[in-house]
């Protein structure tokens, strides 16, 4: 009993900084809204209702959270190794392309084909990101820039495919591929909503993330992130680990693309990724790169997006406010250090004066 209590207290204590961060970001957002002549309270109320107002809205929020969870977990794998994979969008797109290609071209029974499309999505993302890993390991090419540039390349590749080689012949020239077979579509969890089986898969992947960080590979990746030198001395082949990290990270982004296509759209379209990549970065950071944290923060940002859309529609407040809040959240997350430093310095001062202080702990 006591154990549960301390666990809960621990969980709350680890959530508190994230909550403060979000609160602060919303406060700045409110100031912006005031400056723009809007009523922040009404805006946030609409946002909240838009995300949680009804069972349908809740389901929409969970629908948005699904790919975010998978992708943010992938991002966290790379970030733990200090590899800054910013190319989630591109890997997401490649995963979707590979999966839809398999779904449309292989006449297999659905029981076999569906897992195959899943693997194809992982492979598609993994190839796109693995390439970046190789470039980083072999040529020291900055992965931030290469992943970003490949985002644009992937976007144009998708744009070309849905207008050219993969266009739906019966689609009256619309830029989209044919629909995938009905047996391949992920089943809906709650009838009448769009909430699909992908959520269960996302949660399973998060769970796998827990186990992963306790595995040898997970440990190796973490060690490379802490110090490439130390890793090298302990016999880890760093370039290999870098490539492997990118493969896992990008493969998961590809899977996120799979869940979005096979759960929602059932075909390839332009604008498929819709900025999930940058969002996944914020989610991973706010979640402290931990699987449980990622569940919470992806849910939060999904709510922000769904609510933000409602806000734009009903109150006419631009959706870009959500981007602003995202940017602020990262800034506040990384600025926490200043706060802890300042607190520690204060504590040292107290200590030197002979005042005992039990609350000294700079965790972040």
């Amino acid at each position: 009993m006591l154990k549960i209590k301390t666990y809960l207290r621990g969980a709350f204590a680890s959530l508190l900084p994230a909550l403060l961060t979000i609160g602060l970001a919303f406060l700045v957002g409110a100031l912006l809204l005031l400056l723009a002549g809007n009523d922040p309270l009404r805006a946030y109320q609409t946002l909240f209702r838009g995300a949680f107002g009804s069972a349908h809205r809740m389901a929409e929020t969970l629908v948005k959270a699904t790919p975010l969870m998978i992708m943010a977990l992938g991002t966290s794998v790379a970030f733990k190794a200090q590899i800054w994979n910013i190319g989630g969008d591109g890997q997401f797109i490649l995963g979707a392309i590979f999966a839809v290609f398999v779904a449309l071209n292989f006449p297999l029974p659905a029981v076999l084909l569906l897992p195959l499309t899943f693997l194809a999505a992982f492979l598609g993302g993994a190839l796109w990101g693995g390439l970046v890993g190789v470039l980083r390991a072999k040529f020291n090419a900055n992965e931030v820039i290469t992943t970003l540039m490949l985002n644009y390349v992937a976007l144009y590749l998708l744009a070309w495919l849905v207008r050219g080689p993969m266009i739906d012949p019966k689609g009256h020239g619309f830029p989209q591929t044919p629909l995938i077979g009905e047996a391949l579509r992920l089943p809906v969890l709650i009838p009448g909503t769009r909430l699909h089986f992908g959520l269960i898969i996302a949660l399973l992947i998060i769970f796998a993330g827990y186990i992963f960080w306790r595995s040898t590979l997970g440990f190796t990746i973490e060690l490379v992130g802490e110090s490439e030198h130390v890793a090298q001395y302990s016999g880890i082949i760093v370039p290999k680990t870098i490539v492997l990290t990118m493969v896992i990270s990008a493969g998961l982004a590809g899977v996120a693309g799979w869940s979005e296509v096979f759960g929602i759209h059932y075909r390839l379209l332009d604008d498929l990724a819709a900025g999930y990549g940058s969002l996944a970065i914020v989610v991973a950071l706010l979640g402290d790169l931990k699987p449980f944290g990622i569940i919470i923060s992806s849910f939060f940002f999904a709510a922000l997006i769904v609510g933000g859309n409602t806000m734009q529609r009903l109150v006419g407040i631009p959706f870009s406010l959500v981007d602003v809040i995202q940017g602020l959240v990262i800034i506040f997350v990384i600025s926490r250090v200043v706060y802890t430093q300042w607190r520690d310095r204060l504590a040292v001062k107290h200590f030197n004066r002979g005042v005992s202080d039990k609350s000294v702990s700079g965790s972040y």
Binding site: L32, L35, A36, G37, W84, I86, L135, F139, N140, A141, N142, V144, I145, T146, L148, M149, L150, Y152, V153, Y156, L157, A159, W160, R163, G164, S278, I281, V282, L285, P318, S320, L321, V322, D323, V324, I325, Q326, G327, L328, I330, I331, I334, S335, V337, V338
Partner: protein, 294 residues
């Protein structure tokens, strides 16, 4: 076409030479493009727009400087944050100030300068003497940047701070101040580069107008190995790729136009591969400096 890559790249040379990698250029350029447009829209004066773009770039870069120098945060993350923030803020403020219009509001732009006689020269005339003031300003800045970094005490300090901050500190150079100044210069240049897009090249502001040029500028700096003249060459290469892409499209070449659009980005990756291995980064690159730590 090369100017909106070259301008931010020149600023980034200062920033990176001092040991800071500013990946927020993209966001700063967007804010600059917005600032420039809004300035001209409300004042009907191009120079006010230019000034506002610089001010906005400066302000934004100070956040980057604070995060990377004072907070000692990871510079990649800080840069990403600023890009996301810049994307959101510029669009938000644009909508807040101008509302949603059917047609994007337009402003006057910098006109091509007319040099008597010179502009009429065959071949060379239109190539060299038919640009707006910003283009010439940028070319002058290439020389200025090189002179400042190579020939002045300030340039020496910048390089010292980037190569060996501890030694610089022991010589009495204020490491943090120098880095703040360099990031600020980078921000001002990025703001100008953004303004070139909205009031030099086009006559309006679009959310997607920077389109990765900020990141390409960072690649250009690495490609140019922190040398302004080589940066000019690299920027011309990218500007050329962009122009070629437009030309080929207009000619109706059989290559799908999406491939042509992707060309500058593919080129960036290829260039980065070819130079990164032998590039000698400033020794203190991306490492925050703190007196207390060893």
């Amino acid at each position: 076409m090369s100017v909106p890559i070259l301008l931010p790249a020149l600023g980034e040379i200062y920033t990176q030479r001092s040991g800071i990698l500013n990946l927020g250029l993209e966001g700063m350029m967007l804010m600059g493009a917005f600032g420039g447009f809004i300035g001209v829209y409300f004042s009907h004066n191009l120079w006010v727009g230019l000034f506002l773009a610089m001010a906005v770039g400066l302000l934004f870069s100070l956040i980057m400087a604070f995060l990377s120098i004072t907070v000692k945060a990871n510079q990649v993350i800080a840069g990403t944050a600023l890009t996301i923030l810049g994307t959101g803020l510029s669009t938000f403020l644009y909508r807040a100030l101008l509302g949603i219009k059917k047609l994007p509001p337009q402003v006057e732009t910098f006109q091509a300068l007319n040099f008597p006689l010179l502009s009429d020269l065959p071949v060379l005339g239109p190539i060299l003497f038919n640009h707006n003031a910003l283009v010439y300003l940028t070319l002058i800045l290439v020389v200025v940047t090189s002179v400042i970094l190579e020939k002045t005490t300030f340039g020496l300090k910048v390089r010292a701070v980037g190569e060996h901050p501890r030694a610089a500190d022991s010589k009495g150079i204020n490491v943090q101040l120098i880095r703040y100044i360099c990031v600020a210069i980078g921000g001002i240049y990025a703001g100008l580069g953004g303004a070139f897009l909205s009031i030099g090249f086009m006559n309006t502001f679009l959310d997607q107008m920077v389109a990765g040029r900020g990141f390409i500028a960072v690649a250009v700096v690495i490609f140019a190995r922190w040398n302004p003249y080589r940066a000019l060459g690299a920027a011309l290469l990218f500007g050329g790729a962009n122009a070629l892409q437009l030309r080929l499209q207009a000619m109706g070449v059989a290559i799908p136009h999406q491939f042509l659009l992707a060309l500058p980005y593919v080129l960036t990756v290829l260039v980065l591969i070819s130079v990164s291995k032998k590039a000698e980064f400033p020794a203190a690159y991306t490492i925050p400096y703190s007196r207390a730590e060893r």
